[in-house]
């Protein structure tokens, strides 16, 4: 049994069941809450408290994507994700903790996609998240408040991860406020009412070093943090999603996702002003259209999309930096940097699951 099958298993049980169980929604996100807490509309998120883990919820993540540029102009993407997946609600100290932590890290260049995965159990300190000073970690990967006094614990972060052939160390500085997604952080995921708590920090300026195959590159760019936790965020007939986070040239940001099912699917989006003000968009105000698919390990993955938000005059095509940005982790999915062209330019990240 290797790490891969383990993650597959754990996610299967708790978070992402194998694709075989399509009826359960992608990767088990649709399974029942079974004693876990369920997000309630109207709950006010509080910080820094909610930067920390919520062990009574089944699944949670700290998710950073960064669009980077090396000194020679080359584009790169970097991903740092820590998942928490609970086999049972609550935390226990020691080896009997029901919490399982899973780390995914990746660096994407035009020609290669580097991936690494880490697994750890909770309760002993091998992986976890602290509220103050903020730190989320698994083994020697970490996302840590750099300690300079600021408004929010997440405003200044040191981020590091490594894999067999890559490593990166980045500093992230927030140039804007935290953004609550959905209804004040209550993000609905299906017409049946499944929901999660969801907030983001999309205003990071990133700088640091990315080492690929032993060669270091100085990089700068933009980064985006998503924080989300829930116990049952998908409806049982939903099979996966296409999720965009976009940095527009204007300084505005867009978060948009489309949950696929047998019918029309479920769409949710948020227009984020350069100052952090938000305008949630209605389902029918965002239009997704796959334009080109690429063969990724035998699967047809839509790597170019047309995305329209007519109300905002947005009509863009997104193009993957590297079509093969496949996360060969226990539960595989596609995650990679994209560039935008059309009514505006910009960069962003695209995540596609359930293919």
């Amino acid at each position: 049994m290797n790490a891969r099958t383990i993650l597959f298993t754990i996610l299967a049980a708790a978070l992402f069941p194998p694709i075989a169980v399509v009826a359960q929604g992608f990767a088990g996100l649709g399974s029942k809450a079974e004693g876990f807490a369920v997000p309630q509309r109207g709950t006010k998120l509080e910080f820094p408290r909610d930067h920390g883990p919520h062990p009574n919820f089944r699944i949670e993540w700290w998710y950073i994507t960064a669009n980077l540029q090396a000194a020679d102009g080359r584009q790169l993407g970097a991903q740092w994700t820590l998942f928490r997946s609970a086999l049972a609600p609550g935390e226990r100290q020691g080896w009997s903790s029901p919490q399982v932590w899973i780390g995914h890290a990746a660096v994407t260049t035009e020609s290669r996609h580097y991936v690494a995965e880490r697994l750890a159990r909770g309760g002993i300190g091998q992986a976890g998240a602290n509220i103050e000073p903020f730190e989320a970690w698994i083994n020697d990967w970490q996302m840590k408040s750099s300690g300079t006094a600021t408004q929010d614990e997440l405003d200044n972060l040191d981020l590091s991860a490594n894999g067999p052939e890559f490593a990166y160390k980045l500093t992230l500085q927030a140039k804007g406020p935290l953004v609550l997604q959905g209804d004040h952080g209550y993000s609905v995921k299906s017409s049946a009412g499944q929901a999660s708590y969801y907030y983001s920090q999309p205003f990071y300026e990133a700088a640091g070093t990315v080492t690929l195959d032993g060669v270091s590159h100085e990089v700068t760019g933009k980064a985006w943090l998503d924080r989300e936790w829930s116990s049952q965020p998908l409806a049982s007939d939903q099979t996966g999603w296409d999720w965009f986070s976009l940095h527009l040239a204007s300084g505005e940001k867009v978060m948009a996702f489309h949950l696929r099912d047998k019918g029309l699917g479920y769409t949710s989006a948020n227009w984020i002003g350069a100052d952090g003000r938000t305008w949630p968009l209605r389902s029918d105000e965002v239009l997704f259209e796959p334009v080109r698919t690429a063969d990724v390990g035998g699967k047809a993955i839509p790597v170019e999309w047309r995305l329209r938000i007519p109300k905002r005059g947005l009509d863009i095509r997104t193009k993957a930096l590297n079509d093969q940005a496949w996360m060969k982790t226990s539960t595989p999915y596609w995650e990679g940097p994209i560039t935008l062209e059309g009514s505006t330019s910009g960069r962003g990240y695209l995540e596609m699951t359930g293919y």
């Binding site: 086999l87 399982v100 002993i124 091998q126 083994n139």
Partner: protein, 802 residues
């Protein structure tokens, strides 16, 4: 090489089928015992290796605490957070009802894939393993034992050794009360370059190299060495047979050799033909031997497996697989042995002048010089043996003592016999008796190898037999003392145990809790028992060392008893302090004998046990009562508590079980003994057969002087019996010396206990009779042949040509 010449050489065997059979059976027997023993050893070692790979992940490097204690979970986290790819293990023995199981608590999330012994790979598997009540992954046999003994779900996996269970580290931590502390840390093969060295992160840890010999293999080394020694002994004895058979064949073909040489076959060709012939026979009989060896090993293996389980807790399957390593080794040793034992004869052919007399040469005359040389070497070996007894400390030294002792006495035997015969010759007045002595000493060189073989086999028999019988007698006496309680009861859980504790006082004379915890003392895992302050112990417990106040000191909680193994390991002496798990100390106030236990053991007062280890399982009890009350007690207990049969064991059946294990243990030794003796008997037979066909020139003159063939035959019988008797008498002191070495040196080194030597003369007598029968059978064929020799044949001796 001319095929016709080769064919002529080979034709010899067609006329001497018995000789051919002797040669082939000799090599085959020697190879069979040797390769059978090797097969058993190979199987056992492979099984240890498999178990170590599965249970100890010993193909990977491991981190253990330098002080032999446990490792803090925090240390593991520090290593992980420094980037080391490591995985924690919590292991220890746990008792589920009656069954003790080795729990190996692993963290499947971090266990490197190359160390994954059990597969927890399908989707629900891992949740079952890590989550909820957890899961025990065990062999089918262990699963059967655990049935109804635990509420933890059990999953069966192939390829797991019996008596061990994989479990999630969290559950292992809970069951073994480890407070999160680790037994060891497995280090994955692939590590990121540039990591901070482990020594800097966790200086309290030591790195154990991959592929280190598994513990159980070290523990059982002595046993396998023992088997190997037996196998080798049998092989050496077998080679004596080959030596005499090939010697005879060469001698009888001198005429053929001369004829072939005269016809133009070169010396090179002739030697090459003989060598090819030898190799051919060696391979054929070696192959037969290996096949026989397989059956020997298959027959012995279940006994060996039981022994290893009983003595060392090592799990070895009862079935044998045909491993190339031992059958190739068997063939090789058959070849080497045959060639070696034919070397002298080949050399003689090589040196033979082309027109050497085609006379059958009776065996070379006893040379005084040779005998003195042999005696000197024997004496040196015996001296070395004595020296090793004084100086040597290890198990290997013990076996070296055995080897030098046996070889030394074997070498001295023929010179001693020669001296006896010389003395006999001097004293005898009657001419026939004088001739008898002279003729016997003339035959000595030809017989000496067979006599040496007989001496080795007889001594080994007496020695090992004495050891086993001494051990049996001591062990049974010890069992009587140790199993003093009339009934032993095991509760199924703590709640039931509490109810039993309240119920016992009204139904038994005394309740003796048998509670134990496991911990590390001097870096070794061992059991720590608590005993109640009760007259049973004061009266019965088998103490080797102690004082009148021993039991008071134990009852007060300040004193501890240690078993003989721990005491002989040399780290503790009476009156010294022993540091016990949990960081407290007690004074050693006594030493008790503890046969059949591979590891150390400590006994402290019951109150002290409960005070220092409050979580100790309180499930087992010994109960004192009148023996005739036992059946009704059992009935009442079963009625009141519904305890299963297995949880109530009376003294008699416990003793029976223990004795059965003991007998199993030495069944193998007994079988090997018999087989070795059989080989030695065969050696004797083949030697006498050889001599009888060569001795016509010596007998013919005596016959010509008027001695009847019948009387000649009688003299032959008397001679054989005299030689047999001399060898047997010599073998008794040698066997006793052997037994002493086994009991006082090898046992102490191998098991950590010393046994008194007890003499069993009746056993020797029985052995003597068996050997006598063998001697008579071996002399029967040659005698029959002699009695039937035609007068013409005897007369031919005086002719020019025979």
């Amino acid at each position: 090489m001319s095929w016709i010449a080769f064919w002529a050489l080979l034709s010899h065997w067609r006329y001497r089928p018995l000789q051919l059979a002797t040669l082939i059976v000799g090599v085959a027997l020697a190879t069979a015992l040797w390769s059978g023993v090797q097969a058993i050893n190979a199987e056992a070692r492979a099984s240890y290796g498999r178990a170590a790979a599965v249970l100890e992940q010993n193909q990977l490097e491991q981190l253990v605490a330098k002080d032999g204690g446990r490792i803090l979970a925090h240390t593991y986290v520090k290593l992980r957070r420094a980037g080391w790819n490591v995985s924690p293990v919590i292991e220890g023995d746990h008792r589920f009802g009656q069954s003790r199981v080795r729990l190996i608590g692993i963290d499947p999330l971090s266990m490197p894939s190359e160390a994954q012994a059990v597969s927890v790979s399908s989707a629900p598997d891992l949740v079952d393993f890590v989550g909820g009540p957890g899961q025990l992954i065990v062999s089918a046999a262990t699963a059967a034992r655990l049935k109804e003994a635990t509420s933890i779900p059990v999953r069966i996996a192939a390829d797991l050794p019996d008596g061990a269970a994989f479990i999630d580290i969290g559950a292992a931590d809970r069951l073994l009360n480890r407070n999160g502390e680790l037994s060891r840390i497995v280090v994955a093969r692939s590590q990121r370059p540039g990591l901070e060295p482990i020594g800097a992160i966790a200086p309290e840890l030591a790195l154990k190299d991959a592929g280190e010999q598994p513990n159980v293999a070290r523990l059982t080394d002595s046993f396998h060495l023992n088997l190997t020694a037996f196998g080798f002994l049998a092989f050496v004895v077998g080679l004596f047979i080959v030596y005499s058979a090939t010697g005879l064949a060469f001698e009888q073909r001198r005429g053929t050799f001369r004829t072939l040489r005269s016809l133009g076959v070169s010396l090179h060709s002739l030697t090459a033909m003989l060598l090819v012939e030898t190799i051919f026979f060696a391979l054929i009989s070696g192959a037969i031997g290996v096949i026989l060896g397989y059956f020997v090993a298959s027959a012995l293996l279940p006994g060996v497996a039981a022994t290893l389980r009983g003595l060392y807790g090592a799990s070895v399957p009862g079935a044998l697989s045909f491993r190339p390593e031992w059958w190739l080794a068997g063939l090789a040793i058959a070849l080497i042995g045959t060639v070696l034992s034919s070397a002298q004869h080949l050399w003689r052919v090589w040196k033979m002048p082309i027109l050497a007399a085609a006379q059958h040469r009776a065996w070379a005359m006893t040379s005084m010089k040779g005998l003195i040389g042999q005696a000197s070497i024997g004496a040196i070996l015996l001296l070395a043996s004595c020296l090793l007894i004084v100086v040597g400390k290890s198990l290997y030294a013990g076996f070296a003592v055995l080897a030098t002792l046996l070889m030394g006495t074997a070498l001295i035997l023929p010179p001693m016999l020669a001296v006896v015969m010389a003395m006999g010759k001097k004293r005898s007045n009657h001419v026939l008796i004088h001739w008898f002595w002279a003729d016997t000493s003339q035959q000595l060189p030809g017989l000496s190898l067979a006599l040496m073989a007989l001496l080795l086999a007889l001594s080994a028999n007496i020695g090992v037999g004495t050891m086993v019988s001494s051990f049996r007698q001591t062990f049974l006496g010890w069992l009587d003392q140790r199993l003093a309680a009339e009934v032993y009861v095991t509760a199924r859980d703590e709640h039931e145990a509490e109810r039993l504790r309240q119920w016992f006082p009204d139904h038994a004379k005394a309740t003796l809790p048998i509670w134990s915890t496991e911990g590390e003392v001097f870096g070794q895992q061992m059991q720590i028992y608590g005993v109640a302050d009760d007259a049973t112990y004061r009266d019965h417990w088998p103490l080797i060392l102690g004082s009148p106040t021993t039991w008071d000191a134990v009852a007060s909680g300040r004193g501890a008893l240690i078993n003989e193994q721990l005491w002989r390991a040399g780290k503790l002496s009476l009156g010294g302090q022993i540091e016990l798990p949990g960081g407290w100390e007690a004074r050693v106030v006594g030493v008790f004998s503890d046969y059949g236990n591979p590891s150390g053991q400590v006994i402290i007062g019951l109150d002290a046990l409960v005070r220092h280890y409050p979580d100790v399982p309180k499930l087992r009890y010994g109960l004192r009562m009148e023996p005739d009350q036992v059946p009704s007690f059992r009935r009442r207990l079963a009625e009141k508590f519904g305890l299963p049969e297995n949880n109530i064991i009376d003294q008699a059946s416990l003793k029976q079980q223990s004795t059965a294990i003991f007998e199993q243990t030495f069944a193998v030794t007994g079988t090997l003994n018999v087989l070795t003796l059989a080989v030695a008997g065969f050696a004797m037979f083949s030697s006498l057969l050889t001599l009888s066909s060569l001795r016509l020139p010596q007998l013919a003159p005596v016959w010509a002087m008027g001695l009847r063939r019948r009387d000649l035959a009688l003299v032959e019988v008397v001679r054989t019996l005299a030689l047999w008797l001399a060898t047997f008498i010599a073998s008794v002191p040698v066997g006793l010396a052997l037994a002493w070495v086994l009991l006082a040196i090898i046992n102490v080194e191998a098991f950590g206990w010393r046994l008194p030597i007890i003499l069993f003369p009746l056993d020797w007598l029985r052995l003597g009779v068996v050997a006598l029968v063998a001697a008579i059978i071996s002399v029967a064929v040659p005698i029959r042949r002699l009695a039937r020799t035609e007068s013409g044949d005897l007369l031919k001796v005086f002719a020019n040509e025979r």
